[in-house]
């Protein structure tokens, strides 16, 4: 007997024990399936945090179904009530130990994002079109809201002419923002959570290419984080941008698998957030 995901990208981490499900507070809903659960009793241990009701498969909302559903799966709707950690407990006669599902009920967190399209006085400018924001944000929020109840809000976007020559290649020392990154940070909007600077070319001073550079864990520092994102940032750039926002939310690379958003390598990563990611981005 085990819990299975019903939909993709809905905040279930099946690699933890017990499995973990994020559910938004204030009547947010998530759906789970119970496999081989005939005759079992399913309850919410802390109904003040979340409630659970069994539904028929045809009552599931239209959404992106996960593969692997089987005949006999039982379907449940979990409703988040108040922020906290809940527990779904499954018992059955003859079952020695109950089966649990940990439920993280999360209030919504918003992050205000200001986008800057940078140019300098030596005719270097980003080639990235402003339309990219409208293309990316829905997908960014598909990843972040559904899994962690974190919403990125476009605070604004603007061309940012810098009255100095930032050079054809903007460089940063290993592990640091560098002078240009620091300068751009001072030119950003101080009333947002993160300033995103679209620039032309970014490179480590040791000669290796850097697709993007973001301050780590600045989401709750009381001031804005900084993200520099170059024009030729490899493939899967929307995912790379979602990944960079993860750094701003405090996430790091180690311990992640290729299906995860926080996997190191551009063009290879997935969009999964782990329980640890969710609890760090939206504790």
């Amino acid at each position: 007997m085990e819990f299975k995901r019903v939909f993709r990208v809905q905040g279930m981490d099946s690699n933890t024990n017990p499995k973990f499900q994020m559910v938004p507070s204030n009547s947010g809903k998530r759906y789970v399936a119970l496999r081989d659960g005939a005759g079992a009793t399913v309850i919410s241990v802390v109904p003040a945090i979340c409630t659970i009701v069994e539904i028929r498969e045809n009552q599931l909302p239209a959404d992106d179904r996960a593969t692997g559903a089987q005949a006999g799966d039982r379907y449940f709707c979990i409703t988040g009530t108040t922020k906290g950690v809940g527990l779904i407990m499954v018992t059955r006669t003859g079952l020695l130990l109950p089966l649990f599902l940990e439920v993280g009920v999360k209030d919504k967190r918003e992050q205000l994002v200001m986008f800057h399209f940078v140019s300098d006085n030596a005719r270097h400018r980003t080639r990235r079109p402003p339309a990219v924001i409208g293309q990316w944000l829905p997908d960014i929020n598909y990843i972040w809201k559904r899994q962690a109840n974190v919403v990125f809000v476009r605070h604004g976007s603007q061309n940012l002419p810098v009255a100095q020559n930032l050079q054809a290649t903007i460089t940063h020392p290993e592990g640091q923002l560098g002078t240009t990154g620091t300068l751009l940070g001072t030119l950003g909007d101080q009333t947002v959570n993160i300033n995103v600077f679209f620039i032309w070319v970014l490179q480590n001073t040791n000669g290796t290419d850097t697709d993007a550079l973001t301050t780590i864990g600045t989401a709750n520092s009381g001031g804005p984080g900084i993200c520099m994102f170059e024009d030729d940032a490899g493939s899967g750039q929307m995912l790379s941008f979602a990944h960079e926002l993860g750094h701003h939310m405090g996430l790091d690379h180690p311990g992640h698998r290729q299906i995860d958003l926080m996997w190191d390598f551009s063009g290879q990563r997935g969009l999964n957030l782990t329980k640890a990611d969710v609890n760090t981005a939206n504790p």
């Binding site: 906290g84 640091q176 990154g181 009381g222």
Partner: protein, 241 residues
């Protein structure tokens, strides 16, 4: 036409900034009035606003004053399970031990984060830091957190070092100078270790006059530099016994 349009816009008034943006503006100024306003925002119905206000109060305002301004609203925000560790750490600056401090450890699954990287930690850890600040007798339980800490606990203790007054805990922090576990950098490119973060945290906490620069943060430090920090901290703590 332009005059007409301008007068129409003036009549409408400038667009009102969102509450979130306003809180961020208060944080960016962080003067006396702004810090009071931030303390007021701790009672906002929106979790997001409470979270922002608590972060800004902890990082941008005078902590003692923030605790005084926050008062009951700070306790209320903590009891409603705020994710900002700073809200709990601010309780350690209260004039009297806040009643809400003792209930934190009993809340199962209550986790918090502190800006700067590192994963979430139990809220009880933050409450032990606050309790130790309020009453030296409570420092004993905090000292045990320095015994083989997880990566996230170690990072948290280093970031919360400015809030730790217990001399024994401060000395225990020196162990992190030889902790070579992989740790987040200041930016997404480049790795470093807990020992590097310890150098910067200790230098900042004790305002050390080191022979090398620790700013801008994000560097790697040599054994000799770590030894220098250790010696400086030891002599400082022993001088002020």
């Amino acid at each position: 036409m332009i005059v007409l349009l301008a007068s129409f816009l003036l009549a409408q008034g400038a667009p009102k900034p969102s509450k979130a943006s306003e809180v961020m503006r208060w944080a960016s100024v962080a003067g006396t009035a702004e810090c009071k306003a931030l303390a007021g925002a701790l009672g906002d119905p929106s979790y997001d606003i409470r979270f922002r206000a608590a972060s800004a109060l902890y990082w941008k305002c005078d902590r003692k004053q923030a605790a005084a301004n926050g008062g009951k609203a700070l306790c209320s925000a903590v009891e409603r399970q705020i994710g900002e560790a700073g809200a709990i750490l601010l309780l350690g600056y209260a004039a009297q031990r806040p009643a809400c401090l003792d209930g934190i450890a009993s809340k199962k699954g209550y986790v918090v984060v502190l800006a700067g990287g590192g994963g979430s930690v139990p809220a009880a850890l933050a409450s032990r830091v606050a309790a130790a600040r309020l009453d030296p007798a409570d420092a004993a339980s905090l000292r045990s957190d320095f015994d083989k800490p997880s990566l996230d606990t170690a990072l948290f203790l280093l970031k919360a070092l400015p809030d730790i007054e217990d001399r024994e805990c401060q000395l225990l922090t020196l162990h992190f100078l030889e902790d070579h576990r992989d740790a987040p950098g200041v930016v997404s490119s480049g790795r470093r270790t807990i020992s590097d973060i310890a150098v910067e945290s200790l230098a900042a906490r004790f305002q050390l006059k080191t022979s090398f620069a620790t700013k801008p943060p994000g560097s790697r430090y040599s054994q000799a530099q770590r030894d220098e920090v250790r010696t400086l901290v030891r002599s400082l703590l022993e001088t002020h016994k």
